[in-house]
Symmetry: C2
Subunit: 150 residues, 2 copies
Amino acid sequence: MNDSELRTGEVAVDLPRQTDAALYFIGTIRTPWKTRQECPKRGSPDGPICSIVLDERWRQGLTGIAGHKRIQVLYWMNRARRDLVLQTPFQRPTRGTFALRSPVRPNPIASSLVDLVSVEGATLQVRGLDCLDGTPLLDLKPEHGAHEGA
Amino acid sequence: MNDSELRTGEVAVDLPRQTDAALYFIGTIRTPWKTRQECPKRGSPDGPICSIVLDERWRQGLTGIAGHKRIQVLYWMNRARRDLVLQTPFQRPTRGTFALRSPVRPNPIASSLVDLVSVEGATLQVRGLDCLDGTPLLDLKPEHGAHEGA
């Protein structure tokens, strides 16, 4: 993309020349949505069951996760531009990037809280996601404040 | 670290040969805690005020953030090893990495919800963090489910 694709009020900055840390994609998220237009704006616990397929390498890391009803899912919004500081979502006012949960941000890491429905092998079934099919997975954690000591 | 530093029950895997995506550090978190031993186990809204100092490049991205009482902070736990799938926290049972919020995980991205106290220039004052002084910042977002349309 280039500046000609900016909407009214949007501002892009030059990205830093270097990156500072690197990520591993640890699995893949499977959802019913193949295009961004189809995706719900926000995940809902009434939404369809989606699958999170963890790479086999990390499978043992799921030990004990079935005891949690709600988990936090971090994933990489790999299609989003990273250089906007002011953005104008469709039919909404211009806002700073950090005052929005838009995919467009310097580090396009999404964070969703989902209901954990089942765990079978390296696959989790969850409700509450809103991302594209094939989205790369970064992390799974028990929900903030969940009791971890049990 | 190497395998001889594993605690009872812990399992390490070979990390992938390549990484898949890269991050920019966009600022620095200032806290009273200089060593991991000093850090509270979990951030509290009664805890001390900490500062989040955003790099000037991204400053306009804060536009409108002051309207949010609670924000989500993503940061990089740059001292943590990344190869454990089973881990044994001090005086607790062995668990899978994804059933814990430990810093030790394939992608050491921490997510905290904090109370926003003030915004001045590119510096935010917040309560509720528990990380080391100097921790690199990855992202700021309004809390999940916050109303973004105002």
